[in-house]
Symmetry: C2
Subunit: 155 residues, 2 copies
């Protein structure tokens, strides 16, 4: 029941990007240094994030990444879905909503009748989706600024 480092590091890196203002590109190296992550490993995460349209890249010296959208419009759920796949505690409740749920319900667990435990997993899935989609990068940035007023040189 854990999310992997992909999800954790991905959210942290995206938070870092959001906190950095989004005016000039931010290099993975600087993110890796600030957040104590492996630069090479971050590369693996930003490929999918770019393809999913959550970040834009700028190649070459002084290049890096920028959020592709407003921080308030990017939820933690968006990031997790890209890096970890569909938010679902078990495969048979993966579509997350609508679609061919009805059909899935019948085949679930390889039995013809409806799986008796399915309702719990659906409830769990919905709770997870709600929790992750209700928090945006903008929210995280504002929370962080409250705790540590402004990124300034006190010392």
């Amino acid at each position: 029941m854990k999310i992997s480092t992909k999800g954790r590091y991905g959210v942290l890196a995206m938070f870092d990007l959001a906190l950095s203002g989004n005016e000039v590109p931010v290099s993975l190296k600087s993110i890796a240094d600030r957040q104590s992550l492996s630069e090479h490993y971050l590369e693996q995460l930003f490929g999918p994030l770019r393809k999913a349209g959550l970040v834009r890249s700028v190649r070459g010296a002084q290049g890096g990444y920028l959020l592709a959208r407003d921080p308030d419009s990017i939820t933690v759920g968006d990031i997790v879905r890209v890096l970890e796949g569909p938010i679902a505690p078990v495969e048979c409740v993966q579509p997350e909503a609508g679609g061919d749920e009805k059909q899935l319900a019948r085949d679930c667990c390889g039995r013809p009748e409806v799986c008796p435990t399915r309702p719990v997993w659906e409830k769990l899935r919905d709770a997870m989706v709600e929790a992750l989609d209700s928090v945006s990068l903008g929210d995280l940035v504002r929370q962080a600024r409250e705790r540590r007023p402004v990124p300034m040189y006190y010392i």
Copy 2:
């Protein structure tokens, strides 16, 4: 973000136990047959479940397992915690409640200041705990009976 087969099979097997009335012991073999699971694999799950006090065992011929408590007092969360460990999306929010949360908060992610993404994981954890603890075996049994009125021989 998936729960493993331990959790899935465990909940299904406990549901089977609850559905079976809890008057005579139910053997793992019969559960395995009904739910299409491996008997040997179920054994691995019922050791911990017994040690955690969720089921009682009766050894010998005509033996098997019984729920140790009222089906309404055993939640899906109880079962999942035994078989999958603490319900928490990341390690640094594991205590689930109270305790030395404050202290953990500071050391989280190996940095001295508070981890900026921690609030999301706490929110997710709480949502998961609430979803899993709000459903009992009794609830599942009643739901199942509604759909398939009574376990009777129709054919």
